[in-house]
Assembly symmetry: C2
DNA sequence: GAACAGTCTGGAATATATCTAATGTGACAT
DNA sequence: ATGTCACATTAGATATATTCCAGACTGTTC
């Protein structure tokens, strides 16, 4: 996604394209992992426009509310974020806690009986086990 | 689950049955929600055996390691816990953040191509949308 | 160019989790 | 019954993650 596209997507979410907000969105868009707020803060400050911690958190909140960014459900201490590009599921390593993407596929909805009057928006899968590195380490260790 | 059963399950996990540990396990077993560590701490101290915060955290860690308790993957600040009784999926409300159980059903595994050399232990579904209360509030509001 | 809404900032405050060092407890060999 | 060992617990200090706050800045509109 190029600069113009990021700018447009921010505006489509009703958000001004400020340098700090742009930097957060640009980093999330190009980042393959699922960075924590602290990592995003550090990354956008490695290059130019300085951004305070509070601003980084504010912008992440705004981006999530605007639906441009997803907060990933993991059980670690720090929240992790993810630009809403291609849909994917998540694999969480039991050993090292890393979160990796798994190719998207559709999932069977629950029976409407167990869903009741809830309004369902999306289903996401969380896989658990050992990531490739940890699986190898266990096998050879 | 009665007292004896809890005691046995602790010992089967290689854990001594101390009053504090028992209290945590007993509360999680009877609790229908998915309490945070702070809620568990408060609950086990409402009745008798006082337990310190550190002990509550230690015991939760031990119980998770022993496989008796699950740490639920949600995106809130505080970790949430769940006695591993009946398997279930989770529904997280977009509006109020409550975590509710959805009846278990088996989920199609990902293609082995996208899984690679990872070792898969379990798959869990996370549904998002509006819980019954919030759905009604929106409809009438 | 004044007023305004939205944004940014550093630092303080809060929430959450872990560490530390001292102490307590039960099992068991002596 | 005593000493010892491993495991548990405790209060308080510390670390980490997030939010709040009050003031300053910016771009737009009248």
């Amino acid at each position: 996604m190029n600069a113009e596209a990021i700018k447009r997507s921010l505006e489509s979410g009703g958000l001004r394209c400020t340098p700090q907000r742009y930097a957060v969105m640009a980093f999330l868009t190009e980042c393959k992992r699922h960075p924590t707020a602290a990592e995003i803060f550090e990354a956008v400050n490695r290059v130019d426009p300085r951004s305070s911690r509070a601003t980084t958190y504010n912008n992440l909140r705004d981006l999530v509310q605007a639906g441009l960014v997803r907060e990933v459900a993991v059980e670690g201490r720090a929240a992790r974020f993810d630009a809403k590009g291609m849909r994917h599921h998540h694999f969480i390593c039991d050993r090292c806690g890393n979160v990796e993407d798994i190719e998207w596929y559709n999932v069977r909805r629950p029976a409407s009986r167990s869903l009741g009057k809830r309004i369902l928006r999306e289903c996401e899968l969380i896989f658990r086990g050992l990531c490739i590195k940890c699986a190898q380490r266990r096998a050879s260790g």
